[in-house]
């Protein structure tokens, strides 16, 4: 039986790991290569690197980071942030990424998902959705959560899966950095609409909240950042807790 994945997410800006609260108020959390090694030792199931520095230089630095990590850490690596074209995807894969996450570029040009799936296989195309609730619905936001694309999240997820996305990284902007727990309604709405794996992101503050994302939210994987970076919990501690509560974990 497949196990539920715990995925540390490293937001990287010009070679340093940072983590913002609701995408603002950025604090420094360390060297990405050191952190990647630490999480690997702790039995992390995968790692996600998101380049949040918009500059060309930050992107180059990111590829160097991935290259360095992939020489020493032999678990799956996903790279996102600033991926716009199939060429960007290839560069990330060549640097050592196993999957690429696409957010804004896919909203602007959905075909990039099918092109990527054709060239590299659907399993390495991750659609990242920054979701924000407005009234009854959630909308996909771009530009680090500042701009509403106008696309309704559930419809967007369905279309993206049809185009060739192999996985959805579903981030709740409303919950991001708040430690108020995951948006369970959002997770279920998307999870029931598509047949590809959904990674829950945004809002983790306590162990029961993570369990809730898996049990009530039916998440296939959970993305964690500040909870791990500031040493509140180790990956082992979280896995031990989840396993005790009946969630299948890999050791």
């Amino acid at each position: 039986m497949i196990t539920t994945r715990l995925i540390p997410c490293l937001d990287v800006d010009d070679g340093r790991v940072v983590k913002g609260i609701k995408f603002k108020g950025i604090r420094d959390a360390g060297d990405p290569v050191d952190l990647a090694k630490r999480y690997n030792t702790q039995n992390a199931d995968e790692l996600v690197f998101l380049d949040i520095g918009a500059s060309y230089k930050s992107r180059e630095t990111m590829l160097n980071v991935v290259e360095a990590v992939s020489r020493e850490v032999f678990i799956p690596l996903t790279v996102g942030g600033g991926i716009r074209t199939v060429v960007d995807m290839r560069n990330a894969l060549m640097a050592g990424a196993d999957k690429v996450a696409i957010c804004s570029a896919a909203l602007a040009n959905p075909e990039v998902l099918s092109e990527g799936a054709y060239q590299f296989g659907a399993q390495c195309v991750v659609l990242s959705i920054d979701a924000k609730r407005e009234g009854e619905n959630w909308y996909a936001f771009t530009h680090g959560g500042r701009k509403n694309s106008g696309r309704e999240v559930v419809e967007w997820a369905k279309e993206a899966a049809k185009l060739g996305a192999g996985e959805i990284l579903l981030n709740s902007i409303d919950r991001d950095g708040t430690k108020a727990g995951f948006d369970i309604e959002l997770l279920n709405a998307v999870g029931q609409a598509v047949n590809i794996p959904v990674i829950a992101s945004g809002g983790a503050g306590t162990l029961p909240q993570i369990l809730e994302a898996v049990n009530a939210g039916n998440a296939d994987a959970v993305l964690l950042a500040s909870l791990l970076h500031y040493g509140e919990f180790t990956v082992q501690e979280i896995k031990t807790y989840l396993e005790k509560n009946g969630v299948k974990m890999r050791w």
């Binding site: 497949i2 994945r5 020489r71 032999f74 060239q119 590299f120 296989g121 192999g166």
Partner: protein, 198 residues
């Protein structure tokens, strides 16, 4: 010397990095001329079925790889490198792959597709590749299609994902795995080391 076949597949570098990390001599092959002096061949995975077959043909590597397998020389196929051993895949009907093993490559029907994550391989037959790994071990999977060989005797390991399916096959000097040993932490490195040591 191990030859890692480069047909433009995404995670080729990961396999090379794992071999480098283990201190194993290896060479990336993207031209048939580079095959001389190679003792073992590794065909990595990740990618799309049709694109991979086309790339192998474009680089004039399709026939040399096929001959290598027909001569039963040491071979390890990973993920898509396992699937292209079969005749054709459901992913792209009509595309003729290597046809070294009889059977089909159907798509999962019961669970979320693709399967992404860590799952157990139950070793159903003795294999030197599983030395030190016990009766079963966790590996990382990333695939939407799986192999269904006609001859059950080739199956060495099985995995459960809605159905129980072959995740490792072996025949003579050929071994192929559906999971990614180069992305499966310690277990994966152990399996690669075992294959190198045969």
């Amino acid at each position: 010397m191990i030859g890692v076949i480069d047909y433009g597949a995404g995670n080729l570098r990961s396999v090379k990095k794992a071999l480098d990390f283990l201190g194993v001599k290896n060479r990336v092959i993207d031209d048939p001329a580079q095959l001389s002096g190679i003792e073992k061949m590794l065909l990595p995975g990740v990618g799309a079925f049709q694109a991979s077959v086309e790339q192998l043909q474009k680089k004039s590597l399709f026939d040399p790889v096929k001959v290598w397998l027909q001569e039963d020389r040491p071979f390890l196929g990973i993920c898509l490198g396992m699937q292209v051993l079969f005749q054709d895949g459901e992913e792209n009907p009509g595309i003729t792959a290597l046809g070294i093993v009889d059977g089909s490559v159907p798509r999962f029907q019961h669970e979320r597709v693709p399967q992404i994550g860590w799952n157990k391989v139950f070793f159903t037959r003795e294999t030197p590749l599983a030395n030190g790994l016990g009766k079963d071990a966790y590996f990382y999977f990333l695939h939407g299609f799986y192999v269904a060989p006609k001859d059950p005797a080739v199956v060495v390991g099985e995995t459960e994902y809605g159905i129980r399916y072959p995740s490792m096959i072996a025949r003579g000097n050929m071994t192929a795995v559906q999971f990614h040993p180069e992305k499966s932490g310690e277990n994966g490195l152990t399996l690669l080391k075992n294959w190198v040591a045969i």
